[in-house]
Amino acid sequence: MNEIKEGEYMRNIDVTEVTKVVKDSVIKINHTLSNSLVSLIKKAKENESKEISKSILDDILNNQEIAKEGNIPLCQDTGMVVVYLEIGREVILSGNIYDAINEGVRQGYQEGYLRKSVVDHPFKRSNTKDNTPAVIHTTITEGSKIKMKIASKGGGSENMSKVTMLTPTEGIEGVKKLVLDTIKYAGGKPCPPIIVGIGIGGNLEKSAIIAKESLLRDLNDEASDPIINKLEKDLYKEINKLDIGPMGVGGDTTCLAVKVNYYPMHIAALPVAINIQCHSARHTEVII
């Protein structure tokens, strides 16, 4: 701790520590599903009435066992890395934290035998060969710690995600219809059973940022606002009635969870972002 002025302390953090944490995290999340996710898939399998759908859920459960035991990636699409970075205002960094995060991605994707799935240009499309850069969202918080929510997000489910600017009077029914239409359109493409992350409010980009962040909430976490809580539960039930089922073959298991985050917005606006996550939800949270 370095004293910089009376009553206020600063903490030095060496950014190489950030690199190490990112490296270890990307390897770990690509090899192991969280216990809470495995429990949800097991429960879904028990409740699934269609035989072929049950057998696909069984494949998914066997897959995570093989990946964990063999230390091999759960899925060949090991994603593009997204980091929600929170830096306490009492932290002094020894170097560039964005470079440090990207270095962690570079080392993790190399040493963990993870697929490099990032290209440099929308049309030239040359692979950057180390899965960098990561997409990083930064917030300054209180305190003297760094918190990182780290995800490897696959391309298939991301391609089925979208942002729509509804008008305020379309209200909660408008949001529900939009979500159900989006998921119906996606069908089997985003690798259901999916987790649905919804961001309502803010503006165009804020809605997308909070939608993705909602996917990083604990799977058993429920929204505290009663209206949003009910929306999560209603959508969960209605999505599972769509009969899309695991990999789109039909059945009772289309989504495993629905998460809704919200933010204040302009009087004229009701932005809604829907970020779809495949069943292989790979993310973690670390504190330095």
Binding site: N63, I66, A67, C75, Q76, D77, Y113, G248, V249
Partner: protein, 171 residues
Amino acid sequence: MIKLITPISSKDIETLVVGEKVLFTGTIYTARDQAHLRLIDEPNPAFNLEGSVIYYVGPSPKKDGFAIGASGPTSSYRMDKLSPPLMERGLKVMIGKGDRSEEFRKEMIKNKAVYLIATGGAGALLSSKIKKCDLIMYEDLGAEAVYKLEVEEFPCFVAYDIYGNSIFDRS
């Protein structure tokens, strides 16, 4: 459940109906978006398209002691417009994930080919059915290059059959 040995004949195709589980043994080839673009204009591909099986996959890097890295299917719809020229040259089986366009389905039936799905996200499980992997075309494409895979009882489900049925239809 049906077990098929590659290459696949038109007679094999006739036995496949929607929802059926199929285990493939033999040689299958990988190709995704960029490899399809090139194969279409390729006068002499390094493999025989007649009776061939193409698997839409971009594997993760392999570790020592393994034939291949994680190898689950990628979304097939991206290849919808690229598949017909290859089916016209003999491609019989396509393996991927997810629904495809009506236009693709019509072309597929016309060419007496079939579309199957493998379990998406089960890359570790599916890689255990692949015994050998050799790069045969377009090395510069990395994970998207064409690989020749030797598979044993590689598990899939028939998604579209030549009788016009789809596993994704709800009626």
